[in-house]
Amino acid sequence: MLFKMFITFFKIGAFTFGGGYAMLPIIQEEVVNKKNWIDDDEFMDALAVAQGSPGPVAVNTSIYIGYKLKGFPGALTSALGTILPSFIVILIIATFFYQFRDYPIVDKIFLGIRPAVVALILSAVYKLIKKSKFGYKRLMISLATVLTIVFLGISPIYLVIAGGVGAIVYNKVNS
């Protein structure tokens, strides 16, 4: 079972491009629909916990499902399976990157790619705003976060803590 889990999560890790959120539907397809290891409700529970915890969402989801299937060894196995493909691919790229970095053509390619990265991040912001249905107040918090980071250079750690603690205090006072 552990070996099967490792292979499944390794496959998930190897074939999902574009970051963690792209992995979630693949995890669902493999673990819920194909393998029937957990059902849809359990998958939703896993997602909720994964998104509420620090760290990469896809890795968190794998860890949760691993626990569910085979306890601690299961969690370890699925986490390793998810991470290993990225690790291997990046290690290979990193080894060659600095050799190729000096060719002028690589420089030109990256001059084109950098604005694309801005476009991708901004479009993630756009899609999140549309999906989240934040009210006026919470969008103001987002705006304040941007301004604080860009102009004051305060560490994001403090802002995350302030957001969490502030919301608890706010809700406590109002309830």
Binding site: V59, P115, V146
Partner: protein, 184 residues
């Protein structure tokens, strides 16, 4: 001055710093992916000075094109840059360790947490901050990416395609690379 003892000491110190930095990044980044970028930037560029802004963006671009979560990709890459293979192993482990710890605790206590409103309350405040973090990442990247009118046009065009035409992210980067080779 530079005896072997000091060099070994420096290397160990670097590895410890690397591990602690990524432990911090893993522990305080909620929402995954782009939301982690400001924290990585703060730790790796501003505090430690291990990377320049443009190197950082290039690594983000490479992460987009390779499989797996961006946080893992950048930890592996940066770890390699700072301290070779050992560095990449350490950084990757460090960024996952907080996830593993928190998920282990949550898995065992999930029923207790489900009945208290505090966690849910905290997240009503954290989620807008995460959105702000992602937006802030775009400002940082834009500062080094937009160097002339051509780059602004590439950025704006791809933003339109990805946001409104569901253009694939990997294709967007490949296309941008072609345009870069062609235009510069």
């Amino acid at each position: 001055m530079a005896t072997k003892g000091i060099k070994v000491g420096d290397a160990v110190e670097n590895l410890v710093k690397l591990f602690l930095s990524f432990l911090k990044i893993g522990a305080f980044s909620f929402g995954g992916g782009y939301a982690m970028l400001p924290l990585i930037e703060e730790e790796i560029i501003k505090v430690q000075g291990w990377l320049t802004e443009t190197e950082f963006i290039d690594i983000v671009a490479i992460s987009e094109m390779t499989p797996g979560p961006i946080a893992i990709n950048s930890a592996t890459f940066l770890g390699y840059k700072v301290a070779g293979v050992l560095g990449s192993v350490l950084a990757t482990l460090a960024v996952v360790l907080p996830s593993f710890t928190v998920m282990s605790i949550l898995y065992h206590f999930i029923t207790k947490f489900k009945n208290t409103p505090y966690l849910e309350w905290a997240f009503t405040g954290i989620r807008p901050v995460v959105l702000g973090l992602i937006a802030a990442a775009s400002v940082t990247v834009a500062k080094s990416a937009f160097i002339d009118i051509k780059s602004v046009i590439i950025g704006a065009g791809l933003f339109y395609l990805v946001s409104f035409k569901n253009f694939n992210a990997i294709l967007a980067i490949v296309l941008a690379g072609f345009l870069g080779a062609l235009l510069y």
